[in-house]
């Protein structure tokens, strides 16, 4: 009993030491555990999907490191600071998007990157944070739910950067930017009648917007509706990813044993289509584990957001948490054939891009909003 007590107290001491450290860093334990498990999962899958490339693993670790740094830094930022930062971040983001579009126009091709010499940098990633921040900060000073004039302003805040990104063209990121902004508006209590009306208007706009889509974007939608129509062309991605997932079965073919992935049949297997690699090698079980991990992270994030104080904090937090789900659902949906193929990576699992940094930064903001709740109240 004495021994047990000692061990208990030792454990308790360790636990409380960790808790003190986390609270000093203004980080949330459960969310951190969830993200950590996801990172391990990502490294395991990427090792297989990249064909046992250690370089891939090192690069991912480096990105996670940068992301963790951003997360800790942002966790220390107070909501008021973030709120004052929002217009500046948004403004710089818009300018950079214009620059990228201009360079892309000159270069006559898709342009998403800004080469700063040392790092290549995707300005659209900034907007994933800047849009919900500015929208939430706009609503922070106004009554909920937004009236129609506020709604117009909000629409402008969301649609301008989304349109600029779509013009790059990067439909996937544009959808995500739109989603983060829209979620702020939805969480702010936009009336259901208005939502229904906007949905109808959106459908009408989509009908007209079809004409403005790039050929390859239209093609993606057509192929989504009937992948078999072009089995060796654009439909190839969807068909091969469904074969990979379906052939995995309940338990999968085993780590590094997926023939679809290992023999190059699955395109973009370590980036946008990594979900199919998991399905093939780890089966339904592996995917369910992954989805439960995601749902745990999202639930914790929603909890943190709902516990934080102030309109800005809550709207921003809920938007960031739910956007994470939008991310997961769009990627899983497109890989399994539920949604058209838009270039959205599987968050924190797909290799590459600046999205790991942005996502971790977003979770940093969430943790910061939560840990600063008393400060705001007082």
């Amino acid at each position: 009993m004495i021994l047990d007590d000692n061990r208990d107290s030792a454990a308790r001491r360790t636990f409380s030491a960790t808790a003190r450290l986390l609270s000093a860093l203004k980080l949330d334990g459960p969310l951190l555990i969830g993200l950590g498990l996801l990172a391990v999962y990502a490294l395991v899958v990427q090792y297989s999907a990249s064909g046992q490339s250690l370089e891939t693993i090192l690069r991912t670790l480096m990105r996670i490191g940068i992301g963790a740094f951003a997360m800790i830094a942002l966790a220390h930022s107070s909501p008021n600071f973030l709120r004052s930062l929002a217009p500046w971040l948004y403004g710089v983001g818009i300018v950079l998007l214009l620059v990228v579009d201009a360079v892309g126009y000159v270069g006559k091709g898709a342009q998403r990157w800004l080469d700063l010499g040392l790092v290549r940098f995707q300005p659209s990633e900034i907007m994933k944070l800047a849009v919900p921040m500015l929208a939430a900060s706009f609503m922070h000073e106004r009554r909920l739910p937004p009236d129609w004039r506020n709604l117009l302003v909000l629409a402008g805040i969301v649609i301008v950067p989304a349109a600029l990104v779509a013009m790059q063209p990067d439909l996937g990121t544009a959808v995500l930017i739109f989603a983060t902004g829209a979620l702020v508006v939805l969480m702010a209590g936009l009336q259901w009648q208005v939502i229904a009306g906007l949905a109808c208007a959106g459908a009408g706009a989509a009908f007209i917007g079809w004409r403005f889509l790039h050929d390859y974007q239209r093609q993606r939608i057509r192929i989504f509706l009937d992948p078999q129509s072009d089995p060796l062309g654009s439909g190839y991605h969807i068909i091969q990813s469904q074969i990979a997932i379906g052939s995995g079965g309940l338990f999968g073919k085993g780590w590094m044993n997926g023939s679809q992935a290992q023999l190059d049949f699955l395109p973009e297997r370590s980036t946008d289509f990594i979900f199919a690699v998991i399905g093939e090698e780890f089966g339904l079980l592996g995917l369910v584990v992954l989805l439960l991990l995601y749902l745990f992270i999202i639930s914790r994030a929603v909890f943190l957001a709902s516990q934080s104080s102030g309109t800005f904090a809550r709207l921003l937090g809920l938007s960031l948490a739910l956007t994470f789900f939008v991310y997961v659902f769009i990627n899983a949906g497109m890989v399994t054939g539920l949604l058209p193929v838009v270039g959205v990576p599987l968050p924190l699992i797909s290799y590459g891009g600046t999205s790991v940094v942005t996502l971790l930064a977003g979770f940093g903001i969430l943790m910061g909003l939560y840990s600063h709740r008393k400060l705001v109240n007082s």
Binding site: P145, G189, N257
Partner: protein, 656 residues
């Protein structure tokens, strides 16, 4: 700043968060449902697809069975050769590639168009042979330019090798590239990877045994279709099935006898068939002129092929099986037997031959074929000295119906049933046949004079050399008959030879031993004091034979036939049938020399050489070394090779 309603905001957050979580739950459930559908419900389907994606079956062609002579000497074998193969889907510009290959001298310019047609008829991922049997120099030439030809590969394949060149080509047949017609008959998966298929003779008739069963090797391929050993830690479970080599066929052909027959014919047109009368074994089968079978296995150019088909000597015609000629006097032993069996003739009674015969009440004269007169001849003499006048009378006494019925017992007018295809039945004329063969009523009547001609093997009667050899064998066996066979067994993998039993046929029956003996005496007489006596005078065995001279030219009633004045193509065909030793026959031979003139002088010496080769050879006679070697090779011509030799045989002209 307006005053904020904290409670209202809290209510909005709660309801919206709840709604969001609800939507999230529903979407997650939909996603889960989709995964269950893909990974559980449709798992088998997608698993099959992923298997099909990564595993390709690479055929391993079985090695084609060898063809051996009766003592196991190799007549046909396989040798490795390099060939050019083209994979259409990997060739960016087919026309350009072929043009450039032709400037390198690897493809004939005239073959480009037919090659393009053939390539387009194949599946785009199949490797299509475009040029067989490259010489070392050509291999080198291609190797230097290899990088310029995407989709064209040099591949080592087994190809057919005929060490004796033209020897026995009409018996052995040949192989050629699998044609579109072949694809309709064969089991396509079984021939995946097979380049050559038997087209004629033994190669065609025994295709199934010779071909064997192709095996396969499953190979792992990546998305680009390239073969990979493994990728990552993925270890495939690949299956393979070894090919089963084709059977080695043991022919009844005796190589030295076959060679003797080929040499005996020399450059004359004609055929020689030698049978073992006791079982139907074909000891030798020659049809001359022949052709080099490797021309076909390496692929003929169009010009080479048209040279073969337009040659007036018809090298592609198998004269032994398909050449139909009047039998001439070779039919007389059979006719004598008929006379004896139907008792229309007294063998001892001598008829006087004054050189001409005429039917009672007719002024039409039937002459001795060679002219001259035989004086008083009995049946044995008439056979030995080939007296036409004797047989004119005999035939008219027998009547056509009895002759036809009797001749049918010796296989005249029907297929011998030899085990290769293409045989022709010749023609056994009867009044019934004539009635339906001719249109005009006046032509449909069978005239008594036609029966007279029948007695000496002229008129409508047509026989093939194989049929006469078959008849000679039946005479040797006193009515016992066997189906001629080129293949007498197979050699198993362990070297043991499995012989198949000879196939007995219905032969001649109801002939008394005395009658057989009489006719045998007549045939021995032919080689001792009769028509062929000079040829056999120093033979170390006793032979029974019968000469024949078949007219292809009608001699005018009052003119006399002068060999020298008649154009070579209109000269008589020379026949000789024989068997030996006369008392215990081991070989029966039929020799035909087209436009050879007299049977005794043109055909009998050839039969003698063949019988000498077979009967006088030591028990373990070593075969001479093969002579022919493959020469320079042109491209595969997608010309449909003839499965049966074209054109009708030259036939005799009858006298009215």
């Amino acid at each position: 700043m307006r005053i904020k309603d904290q409670w209202n905001e809290q209510r909005i957050y709660s309801s919206r968060t709840f709604a969001a979580l609800l939507v999230m739950g529903l979407l997650s459930f939909a996603l889960f449902g989709r995964l269950v559908y893909l990974q559980i419900v449709r798992h088998d389907y997608y698993f099959e697809l992923s298997q099909g994606n990564r595993v390709r079956q690479d055929p391993i062609p079985a090695s084609r069975g060898l063809i051996l002579d009766r003592r196991g000497r190799v007549l046909v074998d396989n040798e490795p050769a390099f060939q050019l193969e083209l994979i259409p889907e990997q060739t960016p510009d087919l026309n350009d590639a072929l043009q450039r290959l032709s400037t390198l001298g690897l493809v004939n310019r005239e073959d480009i168009e037919p090659l393009k047609r053939m390539i387009r008829s194949r599946r785009s991922f199949d490797s299509v042979p475009i040029r067989l049997r490259l010489s070392d120099e050509e291999i080198g030439r291609f190797a230097v330019h290899r990088y310029e030809f995407e989709g064209v590969e040099l591949r080592a394949r087994q190809t057919r090798h005929y060490p004796y060149g033209e020897l026995g080509v009409h018996a052995l047949g040949y192989v050629a590239a699998v044609s579109e017609d072949d694809l309709d008959r064969i089991d396509k998966p079984g021939y995946a990877g097979t380049t050559l298929i038997g087209k004629l003779g033994v190669e065609a008739a025994y295709e199934t045994q010779l071909h064997g069963l192709n095996g396969y090797q499953q190979i792992l391929v990546n998305a680009q279709g390239r073969s990979v050993k493994f990728q990552g830690a993925y270890q495939p479970d690949l299956r393979a099935e070894a090919p089963v080599a084709g059977r080695d066929l043991v022919l009844a052909i005796d190589l030295p006898t076959q060679q003797a027959a080929e040499e005996a014919l020399g450059d004359r047109r004609g055929a020689i068939v030698a049978l073992d009368p006791a079982n139907g074994d074909v000891l030798a089968l020659v049809s001359h002129p022949g052709f080099d079978p490797s021309l076909f296995s390496r692929g003929l150019t169009r010009s080479e092929y048209s040279l073969l088909t337009s040659n007036e000597d018809k090298p592609l015609l198998n004269r032994a099986l398909r050449g139909a000629y009047p039998s001439g006097s070779t039919i007389k032993p059979m006719m004598a037997l008929a006379g004896l069996t139907y008792k229309v003739v007294d063998p001892e009674r001598r008829e006087f031959c004054a050189g001409v015969f005429h039917l009672p009440g007719s002024s039409h004269l039937y002459r001795e074929g060679k002219g001259g007169k035989h004086g008083a001849v009995n049946l044995v003499d008439a056979v030995a000295r080939s007296c036409d006048v004797y047989f004119y009378g005999l035939a008219s006494q027998l009547g056509v119906d009895r002759i036809a019925a009797f001749a049918a017992q010796f296989g005249i007018g029907s297929l011998t049933g030899i085990d290769i295809s293409g045989e022709k039945p010749g023609l056994l004329p009867t009044p019934a046949w004539k009635k339906q063969a001719f249109k005009r009523p006046q032509d449909q009547i069978w005239f008594p004079g036609e029966t007279v001609n029948f007695g000496v093997g002229q008129g409508y009667l047509l026989v093939t050399p194989l049929q006469l050899a078959h008849m000679a064998a039946e005479l040797a066996e006193r009515g016992r008959s066997f189906q001629p066979r080129l293949v007498m067994g197979t050699r198993e993998a362990n070297g043991t030879i499995v012989r198949s039993a000879p196939i007995a046929q219905r032969g001649a029956s109801g002939i008394s031993d005395e009658d057989w003996a009489l006719v045998l005496r007549g045939m021995i007489g032919a080689t001792t004091y009769g028509t062929a006596a000079a040829i056999f005078k120093d033979a170390r065995y006793s032979a029974a034979g019968k000469t024949g001279t078949a007219q292809v030219f009608t001699v005018a009633q009052n003119a006399r036939y002068n060999e020298k004045t008649v154009a070579e193509r209109l000269r008589d065909h020379a026949w000789f049938i024989a068997f030996a030793p006369a008392d215990a026959p081991r070989i029966a031979v039929c020799v035909l020399v087209e436009n050879g003139g007299f049977g005794a002088s043109a055909a009998a010496p050839l039969a003698r050489r063949v019988m000498d080769a077979y009967l006088l050879a030591g028990p373990a006679d070593a075969a001479p070394a093969p002579t022919a070697a493959p020469t320079a090779a042109p491209t595969v011509a997608p010309v449909a090779a003839p499965t049966a030799a074209p054109a009708a045989a030259p036939s005799g002209v009858h006298r009215p």
